[in-house]
Amino acid sequence: MNTIETTNLVHAFSEKEIALQGINMQVPEGAIYGFLGPNGAGKTTTLRLLLGLLKKQQGTISFFGKPFEQNRIATLQKVGSLIESPSIYAHLTATENLAVLQKIYQCPKQRIAEVLELVGLSGTGKKKAGKFSLGMKQRLSIAIAMLNDPSILILDEPTNGLDPNGIIEMRELLKRLNQEKKITILISSHLLSEIEKLVTHVGIIHKGNMMFQGTLPELISKQQQTSHLSIGTSDNGRALSIINDQQLNAKITAEKIILPLLPKEKIVQMNELLVKNNIGVFEITTVKNDLETIFMDLIK
């Protein structure tokens, strides 16, 4: 069963500006789902809809297989969230900020010290949150999201403002929460490289459309499919017909012959074949797309 599922989620802020054009999102139980997309793609809009911060216009949203609207309070009890910029009372200390929410969640008081410890903010004492650095505010926001011991975490760019060390710590923390407590995590980001080491599933959104959704291995196999060989010869026209006689689907682009990736032995054979036909081969390269290139291709 999917922990979070949306079907055909459409949202328009105004008649002209359609932010989401039918998002189908499936976050399986226990997944760490990376929600990727460039600025303005619709990530925050999707997450705000999931949490009921925007009025739903079209489509369905369900958590644990139940529609969100009818189970709003029961669902929110199990969700921890961080949406965009930190949401913190500047005139209160870290502890007081958490106490505000502890009263509502009615979780044990010692949870406050626990989550502060978890994000490394135990020592801030009487310092007001308004005086925190951006990274400290972000850490406090993460503590807030974890206060009620949620079974789902929805985090919108949580690494925003964190230093490299903070990013690594955060990644470790999320991995641990996912493995030890079986928390399902939905995390958005601009950069695939930033969350590639963390996620099990990926959704790529661009201009309000879901361009790809699947497991990380599925995305990697997509990467292999788009990797190719590039060959430079003295007579590309003849070379092309020889190669295509071998049932290889080659074509000429930018003075190079481009064909799908082949095993090593096949490359050697093909080279011999070309040389035998008196064609000079001066270059054979494999062009491997990294995940980032795939991502860029998807959002072109």
Binding site: L53, K55, S87, L101
Partner: protein
């Protein structure tokens, strides 16, 4: 629902800590009493005589309430309502508050309850202030006797209660405006505008229909200058209920909740 409300209310009280709310309440409650104590101390002659008057307590009441009812009370309400709601706008915290597991109704009423609590505190402190403005000169100067008449507890309570009812439309409309506008200048400016308009409307035939006039109208009523067929306090209550319902509906229907 009730327990959820209590928890939410407690949470709202934590947020109010260290804000200007309590200072604001104390200043506005004690400004007139302090001024009156000062005036009575420098005009010793009249202070010496007036304590023996039959209408002494009535006089003290009127002196304190005149500026309070026309100005400080409405002003305080305008500021209280803005302060409580602006806390969420300023800190970008509506979104966190609206993803907590509680109904919007509970959030709406627990914020309202905090404003009402501040208002009640204002009334209590102000009444203590009135009492002090009556007896402090007697405590400080041997020559000034304590008031001859006993403290009129019941009329004071009744008078305060009337003002309380009369200011409720202001509470509700300011709450509505403060919830709707992120920029706190809007509710404050609108509040001032309505306050000035209501003072100007005091002598107009239909002035009693202007929702912020009931506090100043209270004085006219005491002087018997109001047509007895017009029930000022009932009008105030009706406005209060209407504004509250409007505020609730607008809040619940808000498209963007953070």
């Amino acid at each position: 629902m009730i327990t959820s409300f209590i928890h939410s209310f407690q949470s709202e009280l934590i947020k109010k800590r260290r804000t200007a709310a309590s200072w604001l309440m104390l200043m506005s409650a004690l400004f007139m009493p302090a001024l009156i104590i000062f005036m009575r101390m420098i005009s010793f002659d009249s202070t010496y005589k007036e304590v023996g008057l039959k209408h002494f307590w009535e006089m003290i009441w009127f002196r304190n309430w005149a500026a309070m009812g026309m100005f400080f009370l409405p002003l305080s309400i305008i500021l209280f309502a803005s302060l409580i709601t602006n806390l969420e706008f300023k800190n970008n915290t509506w979104k966190q508050l609206h993803t907590t597991p509680q109904s919007l109704t509970v959030i709406f009423f627990s914020k309202f309850a905090v404003i009402m609590l501040m208002l009640i505190q204002l009334f209590i402190v102000f009444n203590i202030g009135i009492y002090l403005s009556a007896i402090v000169p007697s405590v400080l100067f041997r020559a000034v006797a304590f008031p001859a008449q006993p403290f009129p507890f019941y009329p004071y309570l009744k008078g305060s209660f009337k003002f309380f009812i009369d200011c409720l439309p202001i509470v509700a409309l300011q709450y509505l405006l403060s919830l709707m506008f992120k920029n706190f200048i809007v509710p404050i400016a609108a509040g001032f505008g309505l306050l000035v308009a209501s003072l100007l409307a005091m002598n107009w035939k239909y002035g009693y229909l202007v929702p912020y006039t009931y506090c100043p109208m209270n004085f006219k009523e005491n002087q018997g200058k109001i047509d007895p067929s017009i029930h000022l306090h009932t009008c105030a209550l009706i406005y209060f209920v209407v504004f509250m319902i409007a505020a609730y509906i607008l809040y619940i229907r808000k498209k963007e909740k953070g």
